[in-house]
Amino acid sequence: MKIVMAIIKPFKLEEVRDALTSIGVHGLTVTEVKGYGRQKGHTEIYRGAEYAVSFLPKLKIEVAVAASMVDQVIDAITAAARTGQIGDGKIFVYALESAVRIRTGEKDADAL
């Protein structure tokens, strides 16, 4: 099992969710985060002074999936989240050793 963690632009959430659902992934967890990267931030103004804000709002999506599905998931997210402009985000994959569904106590593949 793997965890696929993607950083995406906030307005892409629904599209990414739909893309995942369409390949059979029905669970995910979303976190509001701030990202720092190549995409330049914006400027806030306060009484004629400018404050550079280098962190941009992003969403982090975490999906636990069977190892066999990882490529499919990556493709689905990439396709749905891409705008082609700097700041589209990243996908990170790391190993998941075990999973448990709290309600039932089911383990691993059954828990997803």
């Binding site: 306060y46 009484r47 004629g48």
Partner: protein
């Protein structure tokens, strides 16, 4: 020290201004001109009803009980229309401080300090109410010497029984309303003035030190300055006349609703306090401009009580004060917005709100004396001037006036006080200004402004230094970093 560096920077300007003032051949010449009308009508917060001239509230109080006039004061009974407006005005001006000013300031600090900021407004309201009833009203608004009033109304003693004995409001500035109402109205001015100062030292002063500072300032600075300008026998007060109505003070300063007493006074104390306290460790943009929007809006609405209420009657003068207040505010709001748009590329909520407040400040001393055109000029002047005050001036001199108490209130107040001397129209308020050929009034305004600045700066400095030694002025670095809300008040916005 920075304090001295900055006052040194201001010194030439003050010196020149003072020179103009004191060197002028007859600084008191202003009141010589419009002989008959001036004494009463030019009074700050004057009562037009008292004069035969553009009579306002008089008729409603006519008929069987003798009409209110300064000559038959003892027979006078309240005018219900004037009283209704002044009761309303008091509520409006209270609304300026809580919630108005609290929100205006609260939206501009960081989220971690919003609770302390709004609580400061609220606590000052409570504290000054008590002090005013106990002693400040008496010191400021009863007869005493030219410099400070008497103690006859300490604890408000006798404020009602005089009336019940058949005599009206003994205060000649408000002949048609009960003295209690006049006292309440003035109380709200005494409340908002120190509350304004809090903008300068926001986000870093100890709450306990703030209470001490404001309490002492309200008695040692506000009371005498209010007496000078509005007291029955103050040095600058138009009401300070002999039996024949001749002005017997030092120079007659026009300050309809408090440009000098309220705004310059608060702004200068703010500057001193942020110099003494030092800059904040970290700053940032406004955390919630919606709060600032609400605050600025309620300040605007409430300011009608402030300015039109300062007519102390519901008549012609109140109407014109309302008109010029509305115009100057709108013009100043737009001016600031366009200046910032040109300068920084974007029009901001904080900007237009700040501009509107700057306009309100600047029109305050002028509101009973100038007309629509004058108010437009004042609006443009303070829109530009206060923008510079809150940006260029602050950065050039390097003090950390957190919410621009000096940049908006002192700068705006000075622009307004001086331009009142320029644009005053005899027909509207009973005193001509520079454009009507009376340069003496401009000189008078300069003298008034300079005197208040000097007195205020010195006394505020002394008070702050004493408090710093005794209780300490500033929170620790850790408290400042984590926010005053949690550390000082145990509360946090979720």
């Amino acid at each position: 020290m920075k304090l001295f560096r900055i006052f040194a920077g201001l010194a030439p300007a003050l010196a020149i201004a003072a020179f103009i003032g004191f060197a002028a051949p007859t600084p008191v010449s202003a009141e010589d001109q419009p002989a008959a009308a001036a004494p009463a009508a030019a009074a700050p917060a004057a009562a037009p009803a008292a004069t035969p001239a553009p009579a306002a509230a008089a008729p409603a109080a006519a008929a069987s009980p003798p009409a209110c006039s300064s000559t038959v004061l003892k027979e006078c009974t309240p005018n219900s229309g004037d009283t209704a407006w002044m009761l309303t005005s008091m509520a409006l001006v209270l609304m300026m401080t809580v919630p108005g000013l609290g929100l205006f300031y609260g939206g501009m600090v960081r989220k971690k300090n919003v609770g302390d900021t709004v609580m400061t407004s609220f606590a000052i309201t409570c504290l000054v109410t008590v002090l005013f009833a106990v002693v400040t009203y008496s010191l400021a608004f009863t007869s005493g010497s030219s410099f400070i009033g008497g103690l006859s109304r300490v604890f408000l003693q006798g404020i009602l029984s005089d009336i019940s004995k058949g005599i009206g409001n003994p205060n000649s500035l408000a002949p048609t309303i009960p003295e209690t109402v006049y006292m309440c109205f003035q109380m709200t001015f005494a409340i908002i003035t120190p509350a304004l100062i809090a903008g300068a030292f926001a986000e870093r002063m100890k709450f306990s030190a703030m209470l001490w500072f404001i309490g002492l300032w309200a008695i040692c600075v506000y009371a005498p300055v209010a007496h000078w300008v509005w007291g029955p026998d103050g040095i600058f007060s138009a009401a300070n006349t002999d039996d024949k109505g001749n002005f017997v003070g030092w120079v007659k300063v026009l300050d309809f609703a408090g440009g000098t007493v309220v705004h310059i006074n608060a702004g200068v104390a703010g500057l001193v306090s942020c110099l003494v306290l030092g800059a904040r460790k970290d700053t940032g943009p406004a955390h919630n401009m919606v709060l600032t929007f609400i605050g600025a809006s309620l300040l605007w609405v409430g300011w009608f009580g402030f300015n039109a209420g300062s007519a102390v009657s519901a008549g012609m003068q109140a109407g014109m004060a309302m008109t010029v207040t509305q115009i100057a505010t709108a013009v100043a709001g737009l001016t600031w917005m366009f200046v910032e748009w040109a300068h920084r590329g974007k029009p901001t909520v904080i900007g237009i709100a700040s501009g509107a407040v700057a306009g309100l400040v600047a029109i305050t001393p002028a509101s009973g004396f100038v007309g629509p055109i004058g108010s437009m000029v004042i609006g443009v002047a303070c829109g530009v001037g206060c923008y510079l005050g809150a940006t260029a001036l602050k950065h050039a001199l390097g003090y950390d006036d957190a919410l621009d108490c000096f940049g908006v209130h002192a700068v705006g107040g000075m622009i307004g006080a001086l331009l009142t001397g320029v644009f005053a129209i005899n027909e509207y308020g009973g005193t001509p200004g520079l454009i009507e050929g009376n340069p003496g009034q401009f000189v008078n305004q300069v003298i008034g402004v300079v005197t208040v600045i000097v007195y205020d700066a010195i006394v505020s400095f002394v008070i702050l230094k004493v408090i710093d030694v005794v209780v300490g002025l500033r929170v620790t670095e850790e408290v400042e970093r984590d926010g005053l809300d949690l550390a000082l008040h145990g509360e946090i916005v979720q």
